[in-house]
């Protein structure tokens, strides 16, 4: 009987260990937490989203406050439409804030940076960020630089 | 149980060798014109056999004559390619798995090496069929298993594991396991192989005891001719896919068939050839024969 007890205990330990490992991986090493919890959704329209992809962080002053949940092209506005979710902790973002697509480092991930405006009303579930700044496309930038350089050279 | 109606006319006499005698009494198992083979190798070609109720029937034959296959046909582990195998009035080959399992609960099988479950103790081995097939309270399971272990004289070994048992003991435990649900028919597959004379005597005593006291119809498959002639009520000799001889032990000793005489007396000289069938010896040696 003692043998059976220790077998059961060891099996229980194994299951516990496995579940704990999975739980740890799911909650601590993935973006699971920012998807769950309470949050509200807002929209933003950009002329060009560049390399932004679903799951990219939304940051304010470098602090992650939310995440991109969907990107699609809006055929009536001829702009890219981006859905964001923002954690409920950050529910006092002025309605006239600006969303820009920024790049982490020179070749890093793209994310959405929000810089606060000054309006007395705040963003809420379903509202749209009106002031946006599209992604800076490196090729365009280089192209501009080159044509500019050749002009001044003449 | 155990009504042995004398002079009851047998339903059908074993006809494979005309004139073979048939056992008297009610029939428990009947094989009619059974054919069976593994791939292209045929084991039985028209086997007829009757096992009378409540008696000990021995099936004797040389190694490789398909004796174990015969048991597997009777327990439904294998199905005859032709012919009928009837056990307790049901045709084994045509049963569904559920029906077959119901029939098997009335059977017990003692395997050659016992086939004990190596990860269970002796007690748990014997209790296994009870636990699987009934919902008896633990106390009754305990009583039942210990009673059967007492029958085979191994109540004291109930906490041991199969690896700790001698060959003879393992077989006795297996016997206890196969009779724990009181079967009506017992099959013994080579019950004496590899045992010392004392263990042989014990197993034989148990087989006879179970048959005489409980009226269990017993089928023993063996090649231990002298022991079987002493124990069985009725014997069959099988070879080359058929029954070659049948009768009570005393009558078999007087049979004139040269094959039966060779087998019963265990001599190397006789109709059973020493040589395996082969091509012409000279042709094989000098390679002049046709290629096979």
């Amino acid at each position: 009987m003692r043998q059976i007890r220790s077998l059961e205990v060891t099996t229980g330990l194994f299951v516990l260990l496995g579940v704990a490992a999975l739980f740890y991986l799911a909650t601590q090493t993935t973006n699971y937490r920012t998807y769950g919890g309470h949050s509200y959704g807002v929209k933003a329209f950009f002329n060009n989203v560049g390399g932004l992809h679903v799951g990219a962080p939304v940051r304010m002053g470098g602090v992650t406050i939310g995440r991109v949940t969907a990107i699609r092209y809006n055929m009536s506005r001829y702009q890219a439409e981006v859905d964001l979710i923002i954690s409920d902790h950050y529910d006092k973002i002025p309605a006239d804030s600006t969303a820009s697509i920024l790049t982490e480092g020179v070749l890093g991930e793209q994310y959405i940076g929000v810089s606060p405006g000054g309006a007395p009303t705040f963003l809420h579930n379903g509202s749209t960020i009106h002031f946006t700044q599209s992604a800076i496309i490196l090729e365009n930038l280089l192209g501009q630089l080159l044509t500019h350089g050749s002009h001044s050279g003449k | 149980m155990g009504h042995r109606t004398k002079n009851h006319a047998p339903v059908r006499s074993p006809p494979s060798v005309p004139g073979l005698p048939a056992p008297s009494g009610r029939t428990t198992i009947r094989l009619v014109d059974v054919h069976f083979g593994y791939g292209s190798r045929s084991v039985f070609t028209g086997l007829d056999l009757i096992v009378p109720e409540g008696q000990i029937t021995a099936v004797l034959g040389p190694s490789g004559s398909g004796k174990s296959t015969l048991l597997e046909l009777m327990t439904g582990q294998k199905t005859a390619s032709r012919g009928r195998v009837e056990v307790a009035g049901e045709e084994v080959g045509s049963l569904s798995r559920r029906e077959l399992f119901r029939l098997r609960r009335r059977m017990g099988v003692l395997f050659q090496d016992g086939a004990l479950f190596t990860d269970l103790s002796v007690f748990e081995n014997v209790a296994f069929p009870v636990r699987e097939h009934t919902r008896l309270p633990e106390m009754l399971v305990h009583h039942l298993a210990l009673m059967k272990l007492e029958t085979v004289g191994l109540r004291g070994a109930s906490t041991l594991y199969p690896a700790q048992l001698s060959g003879g003991m393992a077989r006795r435990v297996a016997l206890a396991r196969s009779i724990v649900l009181d079967p009506q028919i017992m099959f013994y597959d080579e019950p004496l192989v590899g045992l010392d004379p004392i263990a042989k005597g014990m197993i034989l005593r148990l087989i006879v005891h179970l048959n005489r006291s409980l009226g269990i119809t017993s089928v023993i498959v063996s090649h231990d001719v002298p022991e079987m002639l002493e124990t069985a009520d009725w014997c069959y000799l099988i070879a080359e896919g058929r029954v070659q001889g049948a009768g009570s032990p005393s009558s078999l000793r007087q049979v004139t068939s040269p094959w039966v005489r060779q087998f019963v007396s265990g001599s190397a000289e006789g109709p059973v050839p020493f040589h395996y069938p082969a091509r012409d010896y000279a042709a094989d040696l000098f390679g002049t024969g046709r290629s096979a």
Binding site: T11, G18, A21, L25, A26, T30 | L100, V109, P129
Partner: protein
Amino acid sequence: MKRPGALFQPVLELLAALGRRFHFLAVSVTLIPSVLGRPRSFIEQLFYLGSVSVILIAVGGLFVGLVLTLQFYSALSRFGATSSLGGLVTLALLRELGPVLTALLFAGRAGTSLASELGLMRATRQIDAMEVMAVDPMRRVVAPRFLAGLLAMPLLAGIFSAMGVLGSYLIGIKMMGLDPGVFWSSMRHEVSFHSDFMNGMVKSLIFGVACSLISLYEGFHARPTAEGVGRATTRSVVISSMTILALDFLLTSLMF
């Protein structure tokens, strides 16, 4: 001498072999409810397949985490991107190395023990004994082992990956002196719960089914001789490993 049908013989045999395995799988799956009615033997099997492999899996995961971090560190430092180290290691572990290496180790440790155990039961006629006792060996022997195997696999893969992350932490932060904040946050940024973590879980579960099924099938249908048991054990590792790698490619391209 060959009949024209003989040409198709190998194809037919392959199909038949596949069919027999899927039938075995189907029977095992339908018997799962019966296992839940008898948790005793299931817990026992979970012990033999899971608990005894924990040390192997944990040590394996730790070392893979250590090596992976060293390799990625040297590669990433060429691009000045060591800030993504944590995320990259975790991605590799969760999506690929965790499920696959766990399955391969499982095939070698638990799979062989399943195959040899069942092969031995076949050779010593324990399976036949159950049959004639009117006890279905598929229900009594195969089903609990199957369920235990398929549940043990994701749990073991979790332990493997978690140990890998620990190994990565040890090298990245304790040895290479990366900033722990950057290390941990890069994981949360790069690793998605839905597409990465769940992707790995699905793989693991399918590997669990494949591995247990193959080992059980080979053992259950072993030839009842000592040689047969040996062959079944070898075959179980070979077939399991190949199946895992092939399935991995298939699943990765499906869930890409």
